[in-house]
């Protein structure tokens, strides 16, 4: 099986994000990066597919040259090959999906796996857009997946905790949600392999953003809160405040 997993380099979830002087990007000083959390479930799903069906897992990432660090982490987890589509700017999901789809046209794939949502851009769109651009079926927010005989049975999380069941033919795009698996950590053998892997770098073939950034701004500030009191004695006052002051009940 030819398995491709698309991963994104994103600021770690504990990063303090402040707008930069240009008003369009964030201040990069002091920010650490990691593989966007849900992409790790996609990597794990890819490795499990390889272990079960044999084949090859290729990591595909569009990002700055520094993203080789995240790509190598994916190799250390158990992926086989890696490719970086070099692009230094923050891109929207349309530009990203277009660049990934352009590369996938000549990269063999039986299944292309994504995180269901990136922790920074939070668009939850890139995978479905790639599927549409390649004319492939897509199932997003997968929480279970069985692959056999060129087809996949997938459950996705829908409204109200319901699960929708799909049977689709491969090749296909699947975006992965927590619950699909528990991802592994890199082991010694993987870390050694990652050191030796040559990460192929090509310039990303990305069009202009589909939605252009006008400004990045801080969220609206929250008014200072108050401590209503201590213990059970405070509940009546809290309910009164919610009713009369905040007017939410």
């Amino acid at each position: 099986m030819e398995i491709v997993v698309c991963i994104r380099r994103a600021p770690t979830t504990d990063a303090r994000i402040k707008p930069a002087a240009d008003g369009k990007n964030y201040e990069p000083a002091g920010i650490n990066y990691d593989i966007s959390e849900y992409d790790k479930f996609a990597i794990e799903a890819a490795i499990q597919l390889k272990e079960k069906h044999t084949g090859k897992v290729t990591v595909l990432c569009m990002g700055s040259k520094e993203a080789t660090k995240e790509v190598r982490t994916a190799i250390a987890m158990g992926c086989d090959a890696a490719e970086l589509l070099v692009d230094e700017a923050f891109r929207d999901s349309w530009a990203t999906a277009s660049a990934l789809a352009a590369r996938l046209k000549s990269l063999p794939h039986d299944i292309v796996l994504f995180g269901w949502n990136s922790v920074d851009n939070q668009s939850a769109s890139t995978g479905q857009m790639v599927a549409e651009l390649l004319g492939l079926p897509s199932v997003s927010v997968a929480v279970s997946m069985e692959v056999a005989d060129g087809a996949a049975q997938i459950e996705r999380l829908a409204a109200g905790g319901k699960r929708e069941k799909y049977y689709i033919k491969l090749p296909a795009v699947v975006t992965c949600q927590k619950g699909l698996n528990k991802y592994r950590s890199p082991n010694m053998k993987g870390i050694m392999a990652a050191k030796k892997t040559v990460v192929a770098e090509t310039p990303a073939n990305a069009p202009a953003d589909g939605v252009a950034v006008l400004r990045l701004q801080p969220p609206p500030p929250r008014a200072d809160g108050k401590i209503v009191g201590k213990g059970a004695d405070a509940v009546n006052e809290l309910v009164r405040l919610l009713r009369e002051e905040a007017k939410v009940i």
Partner: protein
């Protein structure tokens, strides 16, 4: 024409609340732009949408819409976006909207402003504002052509209108055989369970409630009772989900669900940055924690310092009394 096309999601024959909110947002934006809000319904009758802000109501029909299909719905929405020449295309950012609207936008060769919390007009052009970095920043975006956006549930209000819309059937120009992915079966979640991402009130529990299989059993029952008393969904911190105390669908935070209810009550939750990221868009935040230095109190509008054992049952009682009286 600067019309606004709004996909209105139906579930069990009725428009879902988040979709009526999107229609409300669409009708206000259309008024500002000098156009009409056009509702698009797939799998419903569109009956009451004229009263909810729609100037026109398009209702799709055909054998291709018998069951939900992401590629099928995407084709219908992209086709209607082209046919109506809408300046803006909106949908609610529900699990369904998030799934297929991205495909539809790509089909129309457009980007998507996902999960927006604000829509406005600047210099005559529509602008969408969306939280990024889990709400630590807001991104204002504009499209060169049609603006496609999905809207976060509860971030927009519904509209009311005079009910002058007529229902216009639109035939779907492809058949079921051409669909690539179709829902075959729906496995029910817990019956009647409210989804945290869609609920107007959320009561969340953290590690402070302790193990429900051990000494925390009563605490979690008390939390459920509190949620029942005020019609809330139950959420959880990641610590609780990772411990297997609650299903992962309940997790609130940067790597869980983003919620924006009118009332969020955090019980026994410390308020780690990743948790705050998922709930700081709530209108009013209440925190119950025994540690007065817990970071959750920094974002809470109202806090009670105390144990969940003591405060949660008392609060249920006080709410019930207040709702009765």
């Amino acid at each position: 024409m600067p019309d606004v096309l709004v996909f209105v999601e139906y579930s069990e024959g009725k428009p879902v609340k988040a979709a009526l909110q999107a229609l409300g947002a669409g009708s206000r934006l259309a008024t500002e732009l000098g156009g009409t809000a056009i509702a698009l319904v797939i799998g419903g009758d569109g009956g009451e949408l004229g009263k909810k802000g729609a100037g026109r109501v398009l209702v799709a029909s055909g054998d291709a819409i018998k069951a939900y299909s992401p590629d099928g719905y995407a084709r219908i929405l992209a086709d209607q976006a082209a046919a109506t020449r809408a300046a803006v295309v909106l949908a609610s950012a529900t699990p369904m909207g998030k799934d297929f609207v991205a495909r539809a936008a790509a089909r129309a060769k457009c980007g998507l402003a996902a999960d927006c919390t604000e829509l406005k007009v600047e210099g005559g052009k529509p602008v969408a504002v969306r939280p990024v970095y889990a709400g630590k920043a807001m991104l204002a975006v504009q499209a060169p052509g049609t603006l496609w956006a999905t809207l976060r549930p509860n971030a927009f209000g519904e509209a009311t209108s005079s009910d002058a819309a007529k229902i216009e059937p639109v035939a779907v120009g492809f058949d079921a055989a051409s669909l690539m992915a179709v829902v075959r079966e729906i496995v029910e979640g817990v019956r009647g369970k409210l989804d945290v991402a869609e609920a107007e009130v959320v009561v969340s529990g953290g590690r402070g409630l302790k193990d429900p299989a051990g000494e925390g059993k009563q605490n979690w029952q008390n939390l459920e009772k509190l949620a029942d008393a005020i019609g809330a969904a139950v959420g959880a911190s990641r610590a609780v989900v990772d411990a297997g105390w609650r299903p992962h669908g309940d997790q609130v935070g940067q790597t869980g669900k983003t919620v924006s209810p009118k009332l969020y009550i955090a019980c026994g939750i410390s308020g780690a940055i990743q948790h705050l990221a998922g709930m700081s868009g709530s209108k009013v935040i209440v925190a119950i924690n025994k540690d007065e230095n817990a970071p959750i109190f920094k974002v809470a509008d109202y806090g009670i310092i105390g144990t969940v054992e003591e405060v949660v049952p008392a609060l249920t009682e006080a709410f019930s009394k207040s709702l009765r009286g």
